[in-house]
Symmetry: C2
Subunit: 424 residues, 2 copies
């Protein structure tokens, strides 16, 4: 029986027998360094998303239902250790996205006292559409004191600039920024958590978790095959999102092209994350008419005000009997629309979150906003500048976390690794 033919379920059974026998003899753990491949299942929810490719998975991949996102501080000053960890992350990511473990559960290299190379909580679970997407923050290139940490300062893309302060920002530094990020998306939250945890385990001593965020429900569609989900205001969100099928728009707005900046980012994309607390209790006390005026869409169908269906184009020129615009001038849909922003668009990939309560009798709930783009200076920054000044929705929002990352192109094959061209 070739080791690659062992299915995950079969491997578990073997592990049980091996460990029980060994423990019963109070001896070593034995040579259980089995590899695990998975019983592939059909269906988008449980299947595997290919890991290797020209672009990283997890960007135009149809948005999975669950998220675990983490930002890391890099602890080491040793560039070689950092690169070695990125190589290890890449190998583990290739395994985990295929539904295999991060490493072996049993003894490592025959040493029974070694910890397992996988934490085990995803044993028996299918790949669940897991994607692992890695990005580099501005502080990886040059820290707050201006130090060039890994000889990378000259290679920082101009587009990877710290975001400006926006009106109303209430950012908490301890859950903002980060030298590295990993976005794990899957249709089973246990699979996403398992992926992040194992990368953190592999990075022990090299990186340290700075902040992390779980998201329980996607708030955007990234494919025309997906229904538009609802955010915690109860409205459909991301109707006008960039989608995987919009090939021309993706070229213009999503992927970094040759000449945009340093070559190592060609085929990559910039990620902006914002944790946006929504004061849902206040929102829930406002009338339906007020809610719809703030959003600029109907709550039921998600149609632009004055139209009837979700994907109808908003008519910003239309006025009502009272002469006022049907879609208010300070409504979210108007201010965020490409027509108001010189055509700028984002590929949004956010998730709803509830992080317990806030000690003041309210749920700590909102949107973990994530948006991919070709150049934040021409996309997120001007859009958010406009929204932060004028959006009627701001009354119900508070931005508490912010970060920006350069997500390099895809890992092309087994010899490649996350960000290889940056460190070459």
């Amino acid at each position: 029986m070739g080791i690659r033919r062992i299915t995950r379920r079969r491997a578990i059974a073997l592990a049980g027998v091996g460990a029980a026998g060994v423990a019963g003899a109070a001896g070593g753990v034995g040579a259980m360094a089995y590899a695990q491949t998975h019983d592939r299942e059909d269906g988008a929810a449980t299947g595997a998303v290919p890991f290797h490719g020209a672009n990283q998975a997890g960007i135009v991949t149809p948005a999975q239902d669950r998220l675990h996102f983490v930002a890391f501080d890099v602890l080491t000053r040793d560039r070689d250790r950092l690169v070695e960890m990125l190589r290890q992350w890449t190998a583990a990511a290739a395994r985990m996205t295929a539904g295999r473990d991060a490493g072996t559960i049993g003894a490592v290299n025959g040493i029974p006292e070694a910890p397992p190379d996988d934490t085990g909580e995803a044993l028996g679970l299918p790949p669940s559409g897991l994607t692992i997407t890695v990005g580099f923050g501005p502080t990886l290139f040059r820290d707050a004191s201006g130090r060039d940490r890994f000889g990378l300062a000259a290679r920082r893309p101009a587009a990877l600039a710290e975001l400006p302060r926006f009106a109303g920002d209430a950012l908490r530094p301890e859950i903002s920024g980060g030298d590295l990020c990993v976005q794990a998306c899957a249709n089973d939250p246990q699979v996403a958590v398992h992926a992040i945890r194992n990368l953190a385990r592999i990075g022990m001593g090299v990186v340290s978790v700075r902040w992390s965020q779980l998201g329980f429900g996607r708030t955007s569609s990234t494919s025309r095959d997906q229904a538009t989900p609802r955010n915690l205001f109860g409205f459909k969100d991301g109707t006008a999102n960039l989608k995987a099928e919009d090939t021309d728009l993706l070229r213009d707005h999503l992927w970094v092209l040759p000449g945009d900046g340093p070559d190592w980012m060609t085929g990559g994309s910039y990620l902006v994350t914002r944790k946006i607390r929504m004061t849902v209790e206040t929102w829930d006390r406002s009338s339906l008419a007020e809610q719809e005026a703030v959003v600029g869409r109907t709550k039921g169908a998600g149609a632009p005000l004055g139209r009837t269906a979700e994907f109808d184009e908003p008519d910003f020129a239309a006025t009502g009997d009272d002469g006022q615009p049907v879609i208010p001038v300070d409504s979210h849909v108007r201010l965020a629309h490409p027509d108001t922003n010189g055509g700028a668009r984002l590929l949004r990939r956010g998730y709803n979150f509830v992080d317990g309560s806030d000690g003041l009798g309210r749920l700590d709930a909102g949107l973990f906003f994530m948006a991919y783009q070709r150049d934040p200076r021409r996309q997120f920054v001007p859009i958010q500048t406009r929204l932060s000044r004028n959006d009627a929705m701001n009354e119900y929002l508070r931005h508490v976390s912010s970060a920006i990352f350069a997500c390099p192109p895809g890992v092309r094959d087994a010899a490649d690794f996350f960000g290889a061209a940056l460190f070459r």
Copy 2:
């Protein structure tokens, strides 16, 4: 077309048309007080769990995948307002568990300025196995200063006593206790969150959220039809759990019987919750042999040490070649086993959680333990006393939140409400 025949999808479309038309005319929201019944779907994951019955749903119901749990402080001093809210909660719970909204999305009683009676984020989602289970904490009967708040003090069951302090407890008062609790379990987290949020909205001014907890993965099976899931130590958890099929054991260990205490709790059950932080980073650095010795089971199959299969009975008398017990005396499985606890058993219904990170480079992760039982004084308290003193697993655990609630019997019909017999 009878209003009960409107499916949820159809109702959304109607809502869209109504709201758009009205908003376009800048007038009132109109009479959109539509009722919503749901396109029932087959399959345990998306279907509805019956709400009415002799016992509350969400206890022996096969454990759903996701949890939103909330503890409330009662703000009002007015018993009638509290009772009225419990009636409103009951009506909303009956609707939501059937896949309908908590109330109407459109204008309430024709008043366009009224907020919607449902927050909307579950529009279009199936019932998803939602259960809503309500409990009463000791402080509802008598507050910390000894005041009989609602004339209920004489009706407090002796079994509903504050838990003693256990060895190693590191409880945070602000996320412990509570006058009321609601457990919402569903196979879609958005459905569970929607349920809790709408009950909080309905209770505005009467109750206030004290603490709340999301759980992303069930850690116990409550039915023999369910596979045993894994906790964040990577081990199968709850193998020896009480299960719905164990009718005799449930009578002895789960449901309150006549004569156990005040009649209003007959058919109810006591819930103990404990938020248990797991220091997974430390755990992940320990060897497989150490991990299996701590748990007393193999990591792969979940078999008791010295045996081969998960459901094999542990042999606590067996010794190895070295004369030592195969299942260590301080292992979790030995100390938690009914044989060590005079036959005491629990129906566990816990969930894994990850609440971001702890600011010290670690994930804030662990188990939100929930256990239902007939009398905590003879079940949870002695078991946890033993575990807290001797369990080898304590090195990797910290109990940070604790609560106890009396969950009354089921709501029998449309005239009944949560805890009616208590307030009669």
